[in-house]
Every structure is written in structure tokens, then in C-alpha cells.
Symmetry: C2
Subunit: 581 residues, 2 copies
């Protein structure tokens, strides 16, 4: 008797999920659809999987991105056939650029319907082009023992590839014939193999699986490195991810070399235990021409991607750079890298710190340390008497966010403001940003995903990034951490760019959107707090953080012109100082 | 002296727009960004272009799709670099599948920054893969006379390719170096050539530019056609686009052959002048087994894409089919086409009607005509005593929408309900649907675009399709035609599918979203009318249609279970009738 084809679909999908779960997947985000039914039925039968249904596939994908960022595990996405999977693309691009593991499971029509004008049928093959690490179309379901074995292996392989030495999204396009629902006699259960293989996944860590180890003996450049990395150099840590042990190895290396460590807000190193060489005020510091000249280094050892600060990036142009990055990216927009080392940063730091170097230039590091401290004092003093603006907001936020929690910072102005004003703190804080492609997109969905992924996370967004992801508001209802929205009337980053003041500037670049954010928040069932000064913000933040209930939205009215003036006045005052240290 | 590079960017972009405007572009939809500045500056200088700024690129693209559907002209899209253009993808897929002309103008970083970890830089090359008709990356701007000539030609070519015999989206990826804003001495004006070439564009018509003409003499199948197309056959018109002259030629051909014309709701033929052979109630009719057998044809002449009705499509399986379609699609999900004719439907109908056929089987056509009339009577009678539901709503809507206006119908349930209940009318009504990929996506943005494209259009959406495109609500504020939302608590199409009643059905398939649509509409500045019965609906519709002010949203509460019961009771009653005619 021929097996119920609906049951074949289900058993085949179950085998795939057996492999995905074995490979570490614990969360699946699905958007409603008919063709994807075998996948949903199979996912329901995997007891280790958490399922989150989200209507809008674009929001679903950014939510999954957040879960994967927070958990370090591959997160699955399921959608139906047609244009549905194209909505994933912006988050797929971000995941690819930021090396975040996603498993894209698109249902498809069977081959006989593709290209024949059938309903909801498009060419889904390799839809994400170069932006996925791997693509598979395993064809129509079968349930021979060999096929089941193959599908389980494919699931494990896809999960492993999403977590490999270049983590990122993996796409599986999965055709199903009708019937999509099995008959009543169908016997289909998840395999019992998960727990045995489960520990495998935990040995992976995002961005830390390196191809290079010093033991490998394929490293003839030791002499070159020790001669290059002495004297007036610096370590620059761009967006990246460090374990506590990795960070400790880094601080030891910096002390050994006698160089400062410039820590990008997304480096994972600004907030948490550190030693003296940590520098965070470089963006203000280097706007002072005499200091920029005096502190120019002879070499740079850079970890992770290029830093957010354009001031820093421009200042580093033409300085010989060693780039350490376990990923396959080649972050070198200034074209200054003379050596790229594809290594685990912790292993590399520990190894380098034990080599023989000349004595460090103690004046050099002391100069940097004094400048960082002096600048922190000047900024605090200056802000004490300045009208309340983003600078105060950010410093309050950094002071108040609880130990070990997360902060999601939007692109454009918020991340740059954070870069300028945050300073450092000893208590841990994980800063997240979708900085791989630096889009305006997907912020509220990513926020929900980060919280669902296990890290209580507050967001700092601008009004436009908040409004770009309206679907994400549907996911914020239960969050115990607030979404802060700086409402300053549109894209204020353009105020600082040459487009400022062009004819049509307001309508075509700044594009403010006249919408009552309070009414909007309430429509989506979110508490809304409106603040416009320091005491108001402190109170709203404290209420939102300490309550056990939903935190909702804090809308912060900011006078963008005032805010910009305060920033440029500070920089002018700094430039006018005779001596900085 | 070296020319101001900001001015080079602008003059080069201007030349491209000279060509695009000459090729027929009149509307440009842009999303804010910095890298795209030369394109925006150039567009501002084209006096024939209307500019619409829309924040969310996904909404912008569906808006452009609507403008292009309504106007038949290529519509431009501009966005910045990074993930921005990926948000266009769902609308690009629909435009490709529905043969709608779009010009995708993505700004990019220059080659030296691509792949080097620069900010907001991803691999944008061929991002849309097979879903665009052509892709160009013309490299960095130059302003030699040859380069300006080339760019103007490229603009004309891209526009022509978007309107060609297989219309669709064309992608131009356009890198710019900084500075993006020209200096004060830059002289840059649009060319004066537009009006000379302007008329060229109007000679194109969407979907009607055919490769085949009878005069071409490459047609040896006349005898085969005349023998095949006699006796008991039918004409089936799927989603397509007919001019009044084309429709007249079609009715003449049907009368000549003595066959009925089954008119899909998106065929453009259900509503408007017609002759007797027009049949619209086939979906109900063919659910009656005896009728389905008695009326089974020997051959089908099909125009346009596959029809919406699955009942019809299944019934037509294994009937030899001649497909006439000027596009490059091959709409044949049943694999029954034995001859595809790549011809202008009007030319083909006129030619075929003049060939020699045997005398038509008059009983055959009479049978169909009586069945259509009888069914219309039975439905009207049945609905008179049934509780108010979608059926009544649709029939009121078809009766009341003004002559020559538009109706945008969402996929899933609304288009199927329209198919079942609409019947026909003599006054023209243009029915639009994003039926190329049949996504749930982009409906409110498409509605705004259709209205902006010059056709006052009302929408009929479900609650989920309305909520999938929240960004589109930002574009509805000024519309003089309403957006009708059938609120029946989620994806009710699943109630009619085998998934109904599965464990987790409500959460994972039907996925209702508890949101107060009234509060939502008001947040976006839209009038909101809530109705739940016939008189309420008639009044709300009449107010919304007759007012000169904004029409807003009409939320129609429908009891989906009742609605479904009424439909199946009618079909049962039909099946139980001894005789239909």
C-alpha cells in the first residue's frame, strides 16, 4: 500500500528538524501559510523547540536575528511559498554581514508547478544570492531509511554551517506536494537523539571559532609581528564579541605592549571590567587637531569590524594595520591592512603577549590614559551646566541599566551619540546594534528577539527607525524592558551632513512623520511615557526598569538643534584648550 | 581645473533621468538616505517628474507598483545603499510576475569600498537575481559627452525594457563617491529632449505588445486551429488586461465560435459592456457534479494567466488548451497547453474570427447562458433571505462603485469571495489584484499607489493583509476612496483547508491579531467606520464614496463561520436541484 503522502511530508520534515535540533536550534519563528504546514506540524512535535508565530515575515526575520544574537544559537524561520521569503531578505543581509546564525526554511511548490503559472509560485532558488552561507533544495519528501538519514544529516549540517568559522544564514528551500496534512493513521515522532548531540552545539561560540592557532606551526611572521608591535601603537576594537577570558587576555596584551585600547561602543569592551588602557572618548579627543597629531600611532592592531566613529576611521587612514578577525570579512575600508590574521582573538592575544618585545614607551600610554580621564572630567563638567539633551540621556542610561543586561542601539544618530557620550563603566552591559548592513530597519523586532533570546534588553531608537518597523510593535507588548524613542522630528543625522539646507531638505532627506507616538503605542497595547527633561527621563526609566510588568515605550522629546549646538560647542571648547593633559 | 566631483555626480544622474523621462517615467518614489543624494537632486530638476517620499522602502515599492499598474508607465524607485533595496524585493517579485514596469535605482558605495567592511555597504550586484528583466551597474559617474550620451541612452533603454514585450522591473545599481552634494558653481539642468520622445512611451501598452501578427506569415497552424476551435469549447480569460477594442474583438470571436467566455474577476472583462457569452458564476456552477459533467468542453482557448478559481482550474484539467499570451510567462499549472501563441489578444481574436469554421453548436452556448442566468437568480433569491455576510457586502460593492473606478482585491479569501459572489455588471469597473505572486503583502501601499496613479480605487482587504502592511497606512491619509477591511479574526481561508482544527490551529495558522483597528486607523489620521450589517455598510460606503474628503477605513465585522455556512449551504442546495436549466 502506498504511504499517505501527507504523512511522508511530515516524517521527512520531522527528520530535518531532528537534525536542526541536534545541531543546536531551540527557537523557531514562523509566519502563517498553507504550503509550510508539514514544517509547522514537524516543529510542533519537537519538544525542545520554542515556536513564535509572527504575521509579517520581515518582522519575523529581525525577531529571529535578535534571538540568535542573544542566544548564540541558530534560530529557524518558516514561511510559505511566493514572495513571503523575500521579506526575510533585509534581516538575512544583516545576519550575513554580522555573522549571525539563521536557518531559513522556505516552503515551496513542487517542481511540476514551478514556472507554470501556478498560484503563489515564484522562482525561490538561490533567492538570497551571495548573502547566505549555503543553499539547499533537497527535492520532494521521501521516507526511505536512507532519505531520513540524509535529512537528519542535512539538518545537522545546516546548523553547523550557520555556526561555522564564518557564521551566518543558511537557506533550505523545501517543496511539498499536497496533501499537506497527514491522515489520521500517520505515525510520526521526533527522534530521541537530540540530547546526545546537544552538547556539540554549545562548543561553538559566535565569532570565536578561529582557523588559526599558534600550535599549527604555519606562522612564520613572529619576528615581523614583534618588531612591528612595539613603540607607539594602539589596539582598536571595532564591533565584535569577547568572552570574559578573551577580554582578560586582551587587557594583558595591551599592558604588555604599553598601548591604549580604543573601544567601539559595539566592541563589547566599553562596559565591564577593564584595566587602564581602555579609551572611549577618542571621537571627541581626535577632533582636537593638536591632540590628533600628537597621538598619531605608528601601527594599529585591530580586532573586529571597522569602528562606528568616522573621526577615528579617518584619523587611522594610512596607519599600517594588523587585522585579527576569525570571520571571512575583510574590514578595511581605508585599505591599510598589511596583515590579516584569521584567528580566535583570545588565543591570538595570549600568544602575542608571551612573545619578546622591546620595553614599551610608558609616556605614550600615560598620555592616552591622562587624555581619557581629563576628557571624561571636562565632559561631565560641561554637561553639568548645559541644557538637558541626548548627551545627558545617554549618560543616565549607561549609569542606570542593570548589570549584565542589554542595550540595542539604532544606527544613524543614536549609535554615534552613544559613541560620543557614553564613557565607560565597570559593570557589564551588552550593547547590540544591527551594524553589519547598518540599515534603518527591523529595530523593534530585533529588540523583541533579543529579549526572547534571554537577555533583558532596552532599546535606544530614533523616531524614524521606530516607525520603519511598525510590525515589530506587535511583538513589544510583554517586554519588561523599555523601548526609548528619541523624537526629534525625523532623520537628524542629515543635519550634520552636507545635504543640510538643500531645497526640499525637510521633505526629501529629513522626512519627519507627523504621528502621535503615544496613540500609536497605546494602539499596540504598550504603556507610553512622554518625557522632555532630565528628572522626567530618570523617573520614567526607573519606573520602566523596576516594574515587573510591561515596560512599553518612553518617548523622549529632544530639541535636535540644541542638542547639536551643545555637541559642537563642546568640541570648539576642547579645540580651544591650550593643553589637554 | 578638475571638475567638482559633486557636480559630476549630479550631471551624470541628470543624464540618466533625461533618458528615463524620455522613456516615459513620470513618477519617482524615494526613501530617505545620504548616498542617493545625487539621484534625488537630479530628480528634483526634472520638471515632468512627480516625487513621492516614503520612509519604508517596502511600502515605497508597493506604492510604485500601484502607480505603475494604474498609469501603465514605468515608475522609478530610489533608495540608499545597504539593506535598503532588499525591502523592495517582495514588490519586485510581484512586478515581475504581473509584468509591471518598475525602474529600481539603488545608490551604492564606490567599488573601492565594496567588500572592505565599509559602513552600510553590502553586495548589491544582481540582488534581485532572476526577478528583474535587466541589471546594469554603469560604474562611477563621468561627464564626457560620450558618457552623458551613454547615460541618456541607458535611461531610455531601461524604460523601454521595463515596457517591452515582457514588461517588468529593471535594476540599475549606481555607485557614487563623496562629495554627494555639488558646490555652488555647479551648472546642471535637465535636457530639453523629453517632449520630443514622450509620445514613444504611450505607444506601449501593458501586456499588449505582441511578437506575433498574422501578417508575419509564420503561421502554418490555421487549419489546425479552425478544426480544433469548433464544437463544444470555451474561452477562459484569466487575470489580464484588455482594451475596449480588444474586448469587442473577443466578444465577436466568442459569438462567431458559439462558445461561452468564463471571466476571472481579474480578467478585466466581468464588469463593463459585453455580450451574452459572458459567464461569471462558474465557480458555483461547477460544484454541481451533474453540471460539471454536462458542460465539460472539448477544448479551451485561454487568455492571460491561470484563473483564481481552483474549482475551475481543476475542472479544466486534461482539456486540450490553446494559450494566448503576449508575455513570456507560461501559465499552465495543469500541463494541458498544446499550443502557446505569443500574440496581442486583440489582433489574434480579430484574425481568428474571420477564418472559416463549421457552424457552431447553438445548444452548447445556450446551455451556458441559461445556467449563468439561472444561477444569478438563485443566488439573489437565496441571499435575500440569508443573514448578512460577505456575499451581500460584495454584491453591494459591485453595484455601488462608480463607473470606471478601481477595486483592489486582496489575495486569499477576498479574491475568492469576489470570484464567487460578484456576478457581472454593464458599467466598467477595473479590478486590481497583486496576483502575480499572490502574497499577503503590500496591499495598503498598493492601494495608495493606484490612487496616486490616477484611478480612484477602493480596496477590499482582510484583517491580516491590512495588518501586514502597516507602513502603508501612512500613505492612506488623503485618499478619497475607502479601504474596506473584513475583520473576521485572522486568516479565515485556513477554515476551508485541511489544516482546519489541527492542534495549535488558532495560534499557528489562523493567527488572529488582537488590535483595535479603529484606534489604529485614527492613529494614522484616518476616518474609521465600523459596520456589521447591511444598512450600516451601505451607509458607510455611500458616505465614504460621495464625500470629497478623505474616505478612511471601513471595518466590516463578519462572522466567518456564518459566512462559510451560507456559502456551503448554497452549494448544497445547488447540488440538490434536479435540473439547473
Amino acid at each position: 500500500m502506498r504511504e499517505d503522502p501527507g504523512c511522508v511530508n511530515l516524517r521527512w520534515a520531522l527528520a530535518l528538524f531532528d537534525g536542526l535540533v541536534a545541531g543546536g536550534m531551540r527557537h523557531l519563528v514562523l509566519s502563517p501559510g498553507s504550503r509550510s504546514t508539514p514544517l509547522v506540524l514537524a516543529a510542533q512535535r519537537q519538544t525542545l523547540l520554542t515556536l513564535t508565530p509572527i504575521l509579517d515575515e520581515r518582522s519575523a526575520a529581525f525577531f529571529a536575528l535578535g534571538v540568535a544574537r542573544a542566544s548564540g544559537r541558530p534560530v529557524g524561520l518558516v514561511c510559505t511559498s511566493g514572495s513571503a521569503l523575500a521579506h526575510w531578505f533585509p534581516a538575512v543581509i544583516e545576519a550575513s554581514a554580522s555573522a549571525i546564525p539563521l536557518i531559513l526554511l522556505s516552503a515551496d511548490r513542487p517542481p511540476e508547478l514551478r514556472g507554470w503559472g501556478a498560484n503563489q509560485t515564484i522562482d525561490q532558488m538561490r533567492l538570497f544570492g551571495v548573502h547566505v552561507r549555503a543553499f539547499y533544495d533537497p527535492g520532494l519528501p521521501e521516507t526511505t531509511p536512507d532519505a531520513i538519514k540524509w535529512l537528519r544529516a542535512l539538518g545537522r549540517r545546516a546548523a553547523a554551517e550557520s555556526l561555522g568559522d564564518w557564521p551566518g544564514p543558511v537557506h533550505l528551500n523545501l517543496p511539498f506536494r499536497e496533501p499537506l496534512v497527514p491522515g489520521p493513521d500517520c505515525r510520526a515522532e521526533a527522534a530521541q537523539v537530540q540530547t546526545a548531540v546537544q552538547s556539540q552545539a554549545s562548543s561553538h561560540r559566535l565569532g570565536l571559532a578561529g582557523g588559526w592557532t599558534p600550535e599549527a606551526g604555519r606562522w612564520p611572521l613572529t619576528a615581523s609581528l614583534t618588531s612591528r608591535c612595539s613603540g607607539r601603537g594602539l589596539i582598536c576594537c571595532g564591533p565584535g564579541d569577547w568572552t570574559p577570558a578573551g577580554a582578560a587576555a586582551l587587557w594583558r596584551l595591551a599592558a604588555r605592549l604599553g598601548v591604549p585600547v580604543l573601544c567601539d561602543p559595539l566592541s563589547g569592551l566599553r562596559f565591564g571590567p577593564a584595566s587602564d588602557p581602555r579609551v572611549t572618548h577618542y571621537d571627541s579627543l581626535l577632533r582636537r587637531p593638536t591632540t590628533a597629531t600628537a597621538l598619531r600611532p605608528d601601527w594599529v592592531l585591530r580586532f573586529g569590524r571597522a569602528p562606528v566613529s568616522k573621526t577615528l576611521l579617518n584619523w587611522l587612514a594610512d596607519v599600517p594595520t594588523i587585522l585579527v578577525d576569525p570571520g571571512h570579512g575583510w574590514s578595511d575600508p581605508n585599505h591599510d591592512v598589511w596583515l590579516k590574521i584569521d584567528a580566535d582573538p583570545q588565543v591570538f592575544c595570549a600568544w602575542l603577549a608571551d612573545l619578546e618585545f622591546g620595553a614599551p614607551d610608558q609616556d605614550w600610554l600615560a598620555h592616552w590614559i591622562r587624555a581619557e580621564r581629563r576628557l571624561e572630567g571636562l565632559i561631565a563638567e560641561y554637561l553639568d551646566q548645559a541644557p538637558w539633551c541626548e548627551a545627558h540621556l545617554i549618560r543616565t542610561l549607561i549609569a542606570r541599566l542593570p548589570e549584565g543586561e542589554g542595550l540595542l542601539c539604532a544606527n544613524s544618530l543614536p549609535i554615534r551619540q552613544l559613541d560620543t557620550w557614553s564613557g565607560q563603566r565597570r559593570r557589564t552591559l551588552r550593547v547590540f546594534g544591527n551594524r553589519g548592513a547598518s540599515g534603518i530597519d527591523g529595530q523593534t523586532s530585533t529588540l523583541a528577539g533579543l529579549n526572547a533570546g534571554g537577555i533583558p534588553t532596552t532599546a535606544l531608537l530614533g523616531d524614524l527607525s521606530f516607525l520603519h518597523d511598525l510590525s515589530g510593535l506587535l511583538q513589544l507588548r510583554g517586554l519588561s524592558r523599555p523601548c526609548l524613542v528619541i523624537n526629534n522630528g525625523g532623520g537628524r543625522i542629515f543635519d550634520a551632513l552636507p545635504q543640510h539646507g538643500l531645497p526640499g531638505f525637510e521633505a526629501l532627506w529629513r522626512t519627519p512623520i507627523a504621528l502621535d507616538l503615544g496613540a500609536l503605542a497605546r494602539t499596540f497595547g504598550l504603556v507610553h511615557r512622554l518625557v522632555s527633561d532630565g528628572p522626567g527621563f530618570e523617573q520614567a526609566l526607573s519606573e520602566a526598569l523596576q516594574g515587573s510588568g510591561p515596560a512599553g515605550v518612553i518617548e523622549v522629546m529632544i530639541d535636535a538643534d540644541l542638542s547639536r549646538r551643545i555637541q559642537s560647542e563642546l568640541w570648539s571648547a576642547l579645540a580651544a584648550l591650550d593643553e589637554l593633559d
